[in-house]
Each structure stands twice: as structure tokens, then as C-alpha cells.
């Protein structure tokens, strides 16, 4: 199983902080595609992803147990 985390406006749109999904074996890009369809996100071009709290790239493959976070452009500081 995998945990998927949403933040900021993505959290508002998804209506949830996190969901559980079985997505191991998929690439990050494939997951993005699936999530966009599922939640009706308009665009994830500007959204970064992290696997287990480390930035990742679109072609990385998700492993069983990984936590994947969708990270909109940050605005801390």
C-alpha cells in the first residue's frame, strides 16, 4: 500500500490531507496522471513530488510502502 499526501491548494481541491492507494510499480508521472483524473486537478506541471520526504523525478518508480507527496510551489520564508 502507498500513502499519498496533499498540501496547500491541492489539499483544498482533493478535500483530504492524504489517501491510501496501491501504486507500487508505477512511475511518478503515471501516478500524477491518475491523480489528476481522480481529483480533477487542472494542472500538475508546477507541482513537485517527493517520495519518502525526498524530491523525486517523474520517471522514478514507486515501491511498496513508499509515501508520495504532491508539493505545490513552496511559499515559506
Amino acid at each position: 500500500m502507498n500513502k499519498i499526501l496533499f498540501f496547500a491548494h491541492l489539499r483544498d481541491v482533493a478535500g483530504s490531507e492524504s489517501i491510501e492507494m496501491q501504486v507500487d510499480g508505477k512511475t511518478v508521472a503515471e501516478l500524477k496522471e491518475e491523480i489528476m483524473t481522480k481529483f480533477g486537478f487542472q494542472k500538475l506541471d508546477t507541482v513537485m513530488t517527493a517520495i519518502n520526504e525526498e524530491f523525486t523525478s517523474d520517471d522514478d518508480i514507486i515501491q511498496e510502502g513508499d509515501t508520495i507527496a504532491f508539493i505545490p510551489p513552496v511559499s515559506g520564508g
Binding site: A8, M48, E53, A69, S75, G77
Partner: protein, 155 residues
């Protein structure tokens, strides 16, 4: 003592400064980011900061490690606030000590720029006529590689 923190409570600036005191340092700079009332002429009522806390702490520590590698003898501590902040409340405190003063300014500046690049923290502005997560809708920043690159500065 945690050098890198995400705090739900108001930040005590002095306690962040205290973490970087060292006998070899002649200079300590601090950056205190506060909530400004006006941005582009628009009046902010308050802000809400949200963080991916566990990852944010890791990324703050990464920034500290980058600084300590680049500026010899430096020591860094950073605390970022989350939750609701009013005007003049402190959002972030960065303290950097170094043997010599020029390094202290440069390293501190580097820290705030890096925070705005890689630390998963978001702010939601609340105005009289609405609210918005900053950094999303404008979509002026895009990460084709899926992650920020050297030079992706939010000026």
C-alpha cells in the same frame, strides 16, 4: 537542542540565536521574516502557514549542511512557524554565526533564498475580499524536471 524546527508556537528569536553562539565566531546575523501588512498595495489581514513538517525539517537541515560546507566555521539554526500569523508576527528566524562578518551576511541570505526554493512550506494570504495559497495560482514557476534546480529563485 534542535537546530532546525517547525514550530506551532511563536518563535523566540533569542533562543534561535543562542543555538549558534560559538567562541570562534565574531559575527552572528539573523534574518527575521515578519508578516507585512501590504503586498503590492493589497492589505493582508493574516496568514496561515502549512508545512510538510517532517520533510521541511530535513530540508532545513540540508540547507544548514550546505552552508556549513560552503562557509567554513559557520553554524546555522532555523525555525519556521506554522499556523495563523497576524501582522508583524514572526514567520521565520534564521541565525548564522561565522568567524568573519561578510560570510555571515552571505550565508544568511543564502539560507532564506534556499528556503523559498526547497522547503515544503506554504502560506495562505487572507485579505478582506478573499484568500489564496501563494505560489500556486500564478504559476509563474514551473519545474519541468519535477524538482527545483540551482537558480530557481523566488525573488
Amino acid at each position: 537542542m534542535n537546530l532546525y524546527e517547525i514550530s506551532k508556537e511563536p518563535i523566540n528569536t533569542q533562543s534561535v540565536i543562542d543555538k549558534v553562539v560559538q567562541r570562534e565566531a565574531g559575527a552572528i546575523t539573523t534574518f527575521i521574516g515578519t508578516v507585512r501588512e501590504l503586498t503590492h498595495g493589497k492589505k493582508t489581514l493574516y496568514l496561515v502557514y502549512e508545512a510538510y513538517e517532517s520533510m521541511a525539517v530535513k530540508k532545513l537541515a540540508q540547507i544548514g549542511a550546505e552552508i556549513e560546507e560552503r562557509w567554513q566555521g559557520s553554524k546555522v539554526a532555523i525555525t519556521h512557524r506554522v499556523g495563523k500569523l497576524d501582522i508583524t508576527d514572526i514567520a521565520v528566524v534564521i541565525a548564522v554565526s561565522t568567524p568573519h562578518r561578510a560570510d555571515s551576511y552571505e550565508a544568511n541570505r543564502y539560507a532564506i533564498e534556499r528556503i523559498k526554493e526547497i522547503v515544503p512550506i506554504w502560506k495562505k494570504e487572507h485579505w478582506e475580499d478573499g484568500q489564496e495559497w501563494i505560489g500556486n495560482q500564478l504559476e509563474t514557476v514551473s519545474y519541468p524536471s519535477g524538482q527545483p534546480e540551482e537558480g530557481d529563485l523566488d525573488e
